[in-house]
């Protein structure tokens, strides 16, 4: 029996208009999402990996309808998210939540924790009056914070504790799916491991699905089951996280892996000046976006954008050179 995906994204597109230049401004278009398709099963953890500007954060915002899409389809448990009415959206927001990299920027500094976490509960009618404090205290307990945190302000907490508060707030409405956008990137290694362990426990006890957005391959390897690799608004490779990272097939995934330093002097990264910088998303290259940095590029790569094709195993790769053989 095949289960239906909890989140199903088809050919999602988002273009930003950017004005630049002086004194006469020109308008350019940035295709932050250039036809993204992916799905997440209930209780599954999907990693989204890529460098700055690849569109991974836009993906979360558009899928949650915090920003409008320009095309494509997002279905959450069968409901059309992009076409949802206000009341449908209200229901959806209970079930889809988000965790941000820097929780202090998403917490109001003048709000006590009880207010910050109690507000969504009140608005959605899940708790009020006398039931509010014990409900919030239970949430804090779930993320490993004492009830004494209730009456304190965000600045009284360390970075790791603030991220716990951010997680508690995302959990307040009992979601089925959480988008976590670089949730551990700003944390020290020892705290990062604490938060990953906490997220893992919560995921298992609540059977949560997570879309885990990160630039860090090792973190994604440790936490996710499947992964999609993005480059300039497109998915270039996807598959089982172990398969993709142990034997990456797309040249960009190979470059990412070769550039990620590991704590092992026997596996030093080869220091290299080559491979240039990611091109400006304002003016992406023709054909395969990666071709100017790709050591294997041929004429076809400059002219024709490769499509994501299934390869042996469960993975998919968007590269002309993997089609043959």
């Amino acid at each position: 029996m095949t289960r239906a995906p909890l989140l199903d994204i088809r050919d999602l597109r988002k273009t930003y208009r950017v004005k630049h230049g002086w004194p006469i401004a020109r308008t350019s278009h940035v295709r932050a999402l250039d036809g993204i398709s992916l799905s997440v099963m209930p209780g599954e953890v999907l990693g989204v990996v890529g460098e700055s500007g690849c569109g991974k954060s836009t993906l979360a915002r558009v899928a949650l309808r915090l920003q409008p899409a320009d095309g494509g389809d997002v279905r959450f448990d069968g409901v059309n998210v992009l076409a949802a009415s206000r009341s449908e959206l209200r229901q959806l927001r209970r079930r889809m939540q988000m965790i941000f990299q820097d929780p202090s920027s998403s917490l109001d500094g003048r709000q006590r924790i009880i207010e910050a976490l109690g507000e969504p509960l009140r608005v959605h009618g899940l708790a009020s009056g006398a039931s509010l404090r014990p409900t919030v205290a239970r949430l804090l307990d779930e993320v490993g914070l004492p009830a004494s945190a209730l009456d304190r302000y965000p600045h009284e907490f360390s970075g790791g504790q603030r991220q716990r508060i951010g997680i508690a707030r995302a959990l307040a409405l009992g979601p089925d799916l959480i988008f976590a956008d670089e949730p551990v990137s700003a944390l020290d290694v020892s705290v990062q491991a604490q938060i990953l362990q906490l997220l893992g426990t919560i995921r298992a006890t609540r059977n949560l699905a997570l879309v885990f957005i990160s630039h860090d391959l090792a973190v994604v390897r440790a936490f996710c089951q499947r992964v999609v690799v993005m480059y300039l608004g497109r998915i270039v490779e996807s598959g089982d996280v172990g398969e993709v990272f142990s034997a990456p097939k797309h040249p960009y995934t190979q470059l990412l892996k070769a550039s990620s330093p590991e704590p092992n002097p026997a596996k030093k990264i080869a220091l290299s000046f080559q491979e240039g910088e990611p091109p400006s998303p304002l003016n992406p290259p023709t054909g395969c976006h990666f071709h100017p940095r790709c050591p294997l590029a041929v004429d076809r790569c400059r002219q024709e954008a490769p499509v994501l094709r299934m390869v042996a195993g469960q993975g998919a790769v968007a590269c002309h050179l993997t089609e043959t053989g």
């Binding site: 491991a193 330093p261 030093k268 910088e277 990611p278």
Partner: protein, 323 residues
């Protein structure tokens, strides 16, 4: 010949609410020409305070070096007055930071900013400084450098801005470079290029590099020696190979286990608890509150002692190392 950077028994203290707190305690090391020493640790371990102590850039009236000697290219930075320190900075020691945007002036073209350093420190004329600035930008491999001299910092990508910072830091030919988390804000593919550039410049100019980082992966790839700091103390010091082959301090072991790895099937192991705040530091070993080996003796500060008879590998722990 003496090492370009010698730090000997330095303690750095800050004053908070009338109380003195030691944020770096009795740290000693030398960095030779062409050598990279990595200072590793998490937020608040004292690694950046060590760098600021060396540069003589501690915030006046709040923090100061309360003991020890810092010798940069023969000059004692602790004993020297501010005029001497000013000339040592730039001419003998350069520094780059995590976020170049905070050190570059957003309203001045980068060619001017690099040239300004040369006019100030080397007394070059405006046109000579501009020509040398172009050389330097080419030296750090900024593509079409001549065309970019008059561009402003915001017109550069993060990786290119860090190259501009490196050009600025090396403008006056220093012997020592302090790199404080130089690639932490960069994407990994760009980090690799900047690390390659630093290694190349170091080899060509014989720089002594003090690399401050939290990333043990970067340490394994580029450093010769490593010192792990916790709560202001050096807890372990070793050649990179020895350190990764035989991490010995319980904090070093825990830190390595907390790192997620691409090739690992097991998840990272958290270190319980957190670094105590300055006013709650335990006496003796500062890691004892999170250490699974803790004994009563740990309330006395252990000395640094060799590991397995190797004087180049030292650990500060009563439970580990040679007796």
């Amino acid at each position: 010949m003496n090492a370009p950077l010698i730090v000997d028994g330095v303690t750095t203290s800050i004053r908070l609410d009338g109380q003195r707190h030691d944020v770096v305690r009795d740290i000693s090391f030398q960095v030779a020409a062409r050598e990279t020493l990595a200072l590793v640790g998490e937020s608040g371990c004292g690694k950046s305070m060590t760098a600021l102590s060396i540069m003589g850039l501690l915030p006046a009236g709040i923090a100061s070096v309360s003991a020890g000697k810092i010798i940069v290219d023969g000059i004692d930075m602790v004993a020297a007055d501010e005029t001497v320190r000013e000339s040592v900075r730039g001419n003998r020691i350069g520094m780059i930071f995590q976020e170049p945007m905070t050190s570059l002036n957003p309203v001045l073209p980068i060619g001017f900013q690099v040239g300004e350093a040369l006019m100030q420190h080397q007394g070059l004329s405006r046109s000579a400084a501009r020509a040398k600035a172009l050389d330097l930008l080419e030296h750090v491999r900024i593509p079409s450098a001549a065309r970019r001299l008059d561009d402003y910092p915001h017109q550069f990508s993060g990786g290119m801005r860090q190259r501009v910072m490196i050009a600025l830091a090396l403008a006056c030919g220093p012997k020592v470079l302090i790199a404080d988390e130089p690639t932490t804000a960069l994407d990994v593919t760009i980090q690799r290029q900047v690390l390659a550039l630093l290694a190349d410049l170091q080899a060509r100019e014989g720089l002594a590099v003090l690399l401050i980082t939290h990333n043990l992966g970067v340490v394994a790839s580029v450093a010769d020696r490593v010192m792990v700091m916790y709560g202001g103390d050096v807890v372990e010091s070793a050649d990179v190979k020895d350190f990764f082959a035989r991490p010995t301090h319980p904090y070093s072991v825990a830190l390595l286990a907390a790192m997620p790895r691409i090739d690992a099937t097991e998840g990272p192991q958290p270190i319980p608890g957190q670094v105590p705040s300055l006013d709650a530091m335990p006496s003796g070993c500062r890691f004892q509150s999170r250490c699974h080996l803790r004994q009563d003796v740990c309330s006395t500060l252990p000395p640094l002692k060799p590991v397995a008879g190797n004087p180049g590998h030292q650990v500060r722990c009563w439970m580990r190392g040679d007796t």
